[in-house]
């Protein structure tokens, strides 16, 4: 069967005969870089963060990585991949110490401009 020879070209999964298929393989971004969907950006306040991992656990898009020992008190802290984070705010809601603020994306645009 040709499946194992299926190759991923850009976003498309193409079979050996050249047919584009409605498949996505395990890995980031079958829909492309979904960060641009975001209207609100989760910003981590590392001073408040206790390194409890709840945001990491709750993130539905798997875009939070915990970096060991990098917090100001030596605690593990979350780093968010903004290329794929859709800004759903689940992490902010899950945080027991309110260490994640949802900040309007326009704030970041203004800074740039």
């Amino acid at each position: 069967m040709s499946e194992s020879r299926s190759r991923r070209s850009g976003l498309a999964v193409v079979d050996p005969g050249g047919h584009k298929l409605p498949l996505s393989l395990a890995g980031p971004g079958a829909m492309g870089k979904t960060g641009y969907w975001r209207t609100q950006r989760p910003v981590v306040n590392v001073e408040k963060c206790t390194g409890c991992y709840l945001c990491w656990l709750y993130c539905p898009d798997n875009v939070i990585e915990m970096v060991p020992g990098k917090g100001p008190r030596g605690q593990d802290i979350p780093v968010i991949d903004y290329e794929y984070c859709k800004g759903c705010g689940v992490c902010a809601a899950a945080c027991p110490v309110k260490a994640i603020d949802m900040v309007d994306e326009s704030k970041f645009l203004e800074k740039k401009g």
Partner: protein, 403 residues
């Protein structure tokens, strides 16, 4: 040794599924289901067919289970009709869009209300836009032959789309005709092991049908259109190859009967085109040069063949056992478009809901249409309804004189 056996269209298709070594069949056993799956159940329980029969709770599930099994890598088959096909409609799109080869027989019947279990083409013609290949048999032998070929066509890497074989409700499904059953060995030689673009299986995780960017969605549809285009060539190749193995040639997507010298063409699909041939002969005795063009394939639509056969004719009379209510019969619309309505085009909705149409009826409305063209010159009449020996123009504006 091949053997000639008297059987109904239902059995012919069931045997074809057996000869194709179908491994999974899913069906919902209720009216309007057909004897096709009942016969398959019987063949399985007698040990003559090595397949799994899944009884599901609806036709939506019947096709979903068939398509699921096929995604898992086995040759899968189902059959339905009328309301059952309507209930499957969503899954028709999923099967085709997933590029998973599946073969299904559709016994063509009217859609209610009121309740009616007789022949009509509304059900099968509603599948035109789904991405399935759609063929129509004229007789039980052809229903058998198309089913065998459909596996090979749909599983060809140039195509990878599912396919439907249509056979007329009761006229074929419940009528006994001689059908030649081949040797299993010959079918095995003709039909290579199943191929498909991917298999859903543990070990190689993947998601099918998830959200994709709009551009990619459109590109998938473009690929399906290209595959339909490829299917024209594949159908011809497979039809020619079939003749080598079994002696019956299916290399043409349309069948033309006495078309070459004809002034007038009667066009349509399904079993009544056999009657149309007799009607053509009768009209020829009266001095009208009439030919018959039968569409064996609805998708891919054989527009090139149609143009070659009928573009230069005086008129094309399209028999439609179906109506796109508010306009005309679907075949009339497709043929008028393929022919740029250069010949006079006269659509004749008739025989809807199983109303019996004999060759005398066909001769009668064809002669009427010819006389109309001879009196008025080029005409375009979307729906000149024929009902119980009478012509009913459905609305006055339909009778358009062109020049």
């Amino acid at each position: 040794m091949a053997k000639l056996v008297a059987m109904r269209g239902n059995e012919a298709v069931a045997y074809a599924a057996k000869y194709a070594r179908v491994e999974v069949v899913a069906a919902y056993p209720i009216t309007p289901q057909t004897i096709i799956v009942e016969k398959i159940d019987e063949l399985i329980s007698k040990g003559e067919m090595d397949a799994e029969m899944i009884h599901v709770e609806s036709e939506h599930s019947a096709l979903a289970a068939t398509y699921g099994a096929a995604s898992g890598g086995v040759r899968a088959f189902t059959a339905t009709s009328s309301h059952g096909l309507m209930y499957m409609y969503e899954v028709l799109w999923w099967t085709a869009g997933s590029r998973i080869p599946v073969v299904m027989a559709v016994v063509t019947r009217a859609i209610g209300p009121p309740w009616n279990i007789h022949v009509s083409h509304e059900d099968i013609l509603a599948t035109r836009d789904t991405g399935w290949l759609v063929s129509m048999a004229e007789n039980n032998q052809e229903a058998f032959d198309l089913t065998i070929q459909m596996f090979r066509i749909t599983e060809d890497p140039r195509v990878y789309l599912p396919g439907i074989i249509g056979l007329d409700g009761f006229i074929l499904s419940h009528t006994v005709e001689p059908v030649e059953l081949p040797d299993q060995e010959t079918v095995d030689e003709f039909l290579p092991p199943r191929r498909q673009p991917y298999i859903m299986e543990p070990g190689e995780p993947k998601a099918m049908g998830n959200l994709v960017p709009d551009e990619y969605f459109e590109e998938l549809r473009m690929d399906m259109q290209q595959s339909m285009e490829n299917a024209v060539r594949v159908i011809r190749e497979v039809g020619k190859e079939y003749a080598k193995y079994f002696g019956r040639d299916y290399s043409s997507l349309i069948e033309c009967y006495k078309c070459s010298d004809a002034d007038y063409i009667v066009a349509g699909t399904g079993s009544w085109m056999g009657d149309a041939k007799i009607a053509a002969d009768k009209l020829r005795e009266k001095g009208y040069r009439v030919g018959v063009m039968r569409l064996r394939w609805i998708r891919p639509f054989p527009w090139r063949d149609v143009r070659e056969a009928a573009m230069s004719k005086k008129a094309v009379i399209v028999m439609d056992r179906s109506l796109s209510t508010g306009h005309a019969g679907p075949l009339f619309l497709e043929l008028s478009s393929a022919l740029e309505a250069k010949p006079s085009m006269i659509g004749v909705p008739a025989g809807i809901g199983g109303v019996d149409i004999s060759y005398d009826d066909i001769a009668l409305f064809t002669e009427k249409a010819i006389q109309l063209v001879e009196e008025r010159g080029r005409v375009y009449i979307p729906a000149m309804w024929y009902h119980l020996g009478k012509i009913f123009p459905t609305y006055p504006s339909s009778d358009v004189k062109l020049d």
